[in-house]
């Protein structure tokens, strides 16, 4: 198995090599913006500076007049999951794990790459008050499912508050994700709070049972281990700070409720996902050190989005909350750079702070900021080259590197199109001929 894996990796596109991107405007996000070069060695950023000597044998990317930013990180995505987004049968399926449904062939990965996204946080939908276990992925298009996983990123657990979990349980309401769902508790915000408290109460008891067992075993007493509960295990991990809470919520009251539930059970809300009304309780969120991952300007598509404002991110940032701009959408994720520009428009944050909201801030929220999110020596060489200022609507992604390997190259994409089109025509022609032959064959011989 290990040999096979090594073989697969060696066949991956363009093994990481020493390369240098020259003459670019480099927006490091954490260390200012400069005109100069980025040197990449062994998949890592080796050096960033105005003048860097080109090592012998290094590949040179001339980026005169172009811009380089850290790879974009989308902290809320449902791509690459083969549509397995909501479990939906019970309100708290915390045992389900998106790791089990990673689809490395989802074309969404390539499209995201072409939009400058190098890392995503893939999570469940919001039909369940506890949706399941999340995973952080790199957009290493062409690798297998294992190859997409961001090694060492802390695991998460998705929670959801408000209309979506309660809708799934309300027979008079519209059903969840387009399919009919039988009535299911909870059907109100009160019930959502209760469902979460019930789960953590069970998890606490379960944690205590195990603690008791381990203490007895350590003392050499005879003890029977408790029955393992896969639903409660991840909740215990949350209580022990080993798994991060990513909580979908919209209105201020439910976000505050979740903060207090966390206080009561002694865990931390890592990130509020969406948090469209988070601006109303920025103070309380900042006090608890929770992050907010929000949309730039979505509003009015449902009742709980009526007080959504595009100034949300700017207010939160002003009050000291780490804010990221996410997509939750296979299309929107392709231009998170201009979504960030909207935060400059609505609330007047600086260009650098806006860019941080799609790079270093989501990296902090996903606790991968030691590896990615800015252009600094020692970090992963996840880089995006744009032809123009990436906060302009006129900018186009030219190249995307992950771990120092070029995964998207617009020049190659464009020059390869004719061949791909020809191949498609050939396949269609072949299929047409197959059909003709089948029609000519006597019936009853095909199966």
């Amino acid at each position: 198995m290990k040999i096979l894996m090594a073989l697969a990796l060696s066949l991956a596109p363009l093994g990481a090599q020493t390369l240098i991107i020259q003459n670019a405007t480099i927006m490091t996000v954490t260390k200012g913006t400069l005109k100069g070069s980025v040197l990449v060695k062994d998949g890592k950023i080796a050096e960033v500076g105005e003048k860097i000597l080109v090592p012998t044998g290094a590949a040179v990317i001339d980026a005169t007049g172009q811009y380089v930013i850290p790879g974009i990180i989308d902290s809320h995505s449902h791509i690459a999951l083969g549509g397995s987004v909501n479990e939906g049968s019970i309100s708290d399926p915390s045992m389900v794990d998106v790791r089990d449904v990673i689809d490395p062939e989802d074309i969404g990965i390539y499209r995201a790459l072409a939009g400058g996204v190098t890392t995503i946080h893939a999570l469940h939908g919001s039909a369940d008050s506890i949706g399941g276990q999340t995973i952080t992925l790199k957009m290493r298009w062409g690798k297998d499912a294992q190859g997409l996983i961001f090694e060492g990123a802390p695991p998460g657990l998705k929670f959801a508050l408000g209309e979506n979990p309660k809708r799934a349980g309300n027979p008079s309401g519209r059903t969840g994700m387009g399919t009919a769902v039988t009535a299911r508790y909870p059907a109100t915000r009160m019930g959502v709070e209760d469902a979460i408290r019930q789960s953590f109460t069970e998890a606490k008891a379960y944690q205590a049972e195990w603690a008791d067992y381990r203490a007895k075993a350590a003392r050499g007493e005879r003890a029977i281990p408790p029955r393992k509960d896969l639903r409660l295990e991840p909740l215990v991990e949350v209580l022990e700070g080993k798994r991060e809470v990513h909580c979908h919520g919209y209105v201020a009251e439910e976000l505050l409720m979740m903060l207090r539930v966390a206080d009561d059970f002694g865990f931390r809300v890592n990130v509020f996902v969406h948090g469209l009304e988070a601006y109303k309780i920025a103070k309380e969120i900042a006090e608890r050190g929770a992050g907010v991952s929000t949309f730039s300007d979505w509003w009015a598509y449902k009742m709980e989005a009526l007080d959504a404002i595009p100034y949300n991110a700017a207010i939160l940032q002003k009050k000291g909350v780490v804010v990221s701009i996410n997509s939750d959408d296979a299309e929107l994720m392709r231009h998170l750079n201009t979504e960030a520009a909207k935060i400059m428009k609505y609330g007047g944050v600086s260009e650098n702070d806006a860019l941080a909201m799609v790079t270093i801030n989501p990296a902090k929220q996903l606790q991968i900021d030691k590896r990615v999110g800015s252009i600094e020596a020692g970090k992963d060489a996840d880089l995006v080259v744009y032809d123009k200022d990436p906060l302009s609507n006129y900018a186009k992604v030219q190249k995307v590197l992950i771990d120092g390997t070029v995964y998207f190259d617009r020049d190659k994409e464009m020059s390869g199109r004719a061949a791909k089109q020809a191949e498609k025509q050939k396949l269609i022609e072949k299929e047409r001929q197959n059909q003709q032959q089948q029609r000519q064959r006597p019936t009853g011989r095909q199966g």
Binding site: I309, Y311, A341, Y346, S392, N393
Partner: protein, 444 residues
């Protein structure tokens, strides 16, 4: 948020003029229909553009808006929204699009438009001074309802995004009748109303049985539409002939402006087959049409150009239709339309994201559309397509003073719209969003 108002100094001299006149002084004016004019002044009287030029001065007592270093553009037009008809998309009670009934040309979007909708201030703050409001967002049959097939959803209205009543907002209350053309294809979200899951050609799946069934249904639907038009024609003749047994019929009455060529039939048709058949249908019926949200332009463009049929392009920031389409297929569609010589304007086909219409146009520029064409597609082209180019869509003498004063290119997100005028009246740029911002940013 900066206080933009302070940057401009309206020198009010002895109160406003009685005809609402004012002068925008020393601006860089982008009329869209002509070259940029640097350092000129625009005189507005009675809500209309009275004069433009370097030597134009304010008559005595007429207030002046200093605009040195700033730009003036015509207000932008979104050629497809449901603004005023739909407030909170998921709450049925706030949504008035998608009536029941197969042929409902008599339904008027205009008279159900809520001028106090929270959407109007939000949308206009980004430079959109007029919109087309369509009576249906999908195939009809009521939102989230039975999914019943709807062919004609009603009359779309071209309105200003400001006004005390829908009457005051109206530019052309009946600008088009909306037909959702049947389709064999997959895809077609939003206005397309197309049926999913049916292959367009047998070769696409090899499932010949399903395809021929779909083809039969499609042909029947087109026959149904043709019958309705023939009945409308007969009604038109009977009315003209003042025949004794003539009775007024509201449906056919509403079809007369289309049959007489006074207004276009706006046809939702996304895929090549549907577009081609819609064009054939229009020829046969001798009516003007505008195609809404075409996707397969590569195949359809030549015919559209030849027949001089304009199109309203949908969201530029959209996913490609098919898995194996180039990743930027939606981004390059406007450039393809331009190269093929097809006349087009942009529509957001949305309420929530209508305010991003200018940025969608900018993306088209990034992917090959000449900048001037993008600007035209949100201004003069839309005005021409909807038959109101004598009133809006450019900065020309005699047109409504629908104007933006900006500090830069209005298609760029970061540009500030500093002032806006609709029919020569300054428009409040605050909205539900700015008000909530101001309230909560002050929370101790």
């Amino acid at each position: 948020m900066k206080l933009f108002g302070l940057m401009l100094c309206a020198a009010l001299v002895g109160g406003a003029a009685s005809n609402g006149a004012f002068l925008i002084r020393n601006a860089d004016v982008y009329p869209v229909t002509g070259p940029e004019m640097k350092g000129v002044s625009v005189l507005i009287e009675n809500g209309k553009i009275a004069d433009i030029g370097p030597k134009v001065v304010a008559p005595k007592g007429v207030p002046v808006v200093e605009a040195k270093g700033l730009r003036v553009y015509p207000g932008m037009i979104d050629s497809s929204t449901a603004l005023g008809l739909s407030e909170v998309e998921s709450v049925r009670e706030t949504v008035d699009t998608g009536e029941l009934g197969e042929f409902m040309p008599q339904l008027r979007a205009l008279a159900s438009i809520n001028p106090a909708s929270e959407h109007f201030p939000v949308v206009r703050a980004n430079g959109i001074t007029s919109v087309m409001t369509f009576p249906a967002l999908g195939g009809g049959g009521g939102r989230g309802g039975s999914g019943a097939r709807q062919f004609i959803s009603g009359e779309a209205a071209l309105i200003h995004t400001d006004g005390w009543t829908w009457e005051e907002m109206s530019i052309k209350g009946n600008a088009a009748v909306h037909l959702v053309f049947p389709s064999l294809g997959r895809g077609g979200r939003g206005f397309g109303g197309e049926m999913p899951g049916i292959p367009e050609t047998p070769a696409e799946t090899g499932v010949t049985g399903a395809a021929s069934q779909a083809r039969r249904t499609y042909d029947e639907q087109i026959a149904t539409i043709n019958r309705f038009f023939e009945d409308a024609r007969n009604y038109q003749k009977a009315k003209a002939a003042k025949s004794l047994d003539f009775r007024t019929d509201l449906k056919y009455e509403a079809m007369l402006p289309v049959l007489e060529g006074k207004i276009p039939l706006a046809v939702s048709a996304s895929r090549a087959t549907a577009i081609h058949d819609a064009v054939q249908f229009a020829e046969k019926q001798r009516i003007k049409i505008v195609i809404l949200q075409p996707r397969d332009l590569a195949k359809a463009a030549a015919e559209l150009k030849e027949k001089n049929i304009p199109v309203i392009l949908g969201k530029v920031l959209a996913l490609p239709q098919n898995e194996d389409d180039p990743y930027d297929a939606s981004y390059t569609l406007p450039a393809e339309a331009y190269k093929a010589g097809v006349k087009f304007a942009f529509g957001s086909f949305d309420n929530q994201f209508a305010r991003n219409l200018p940025y969608q146009a900018a993306t088209a520029v990034a992917f090959g559309l000449p900048y001037e064409e993008a600007l035209k597609a949100v201004t003069i082209n839309a005005a021409q397509i909807w038959g109101v180019a004598d009133q809006v869509g450019s900065i020309e003498k005699g047109k409504w003073a629908d104007l933006l004063i900006t500090n830069g290119d209005p298609l760029e997100t970061q540009t500030e719209i500093q002032r806006m005028y609709i029919k020569g009246q300054e428009v409040d740029l605050s909205s539900r969003h700015t008000k909530l911002y101001e309230k909560y940013v002050k929370r101790p």
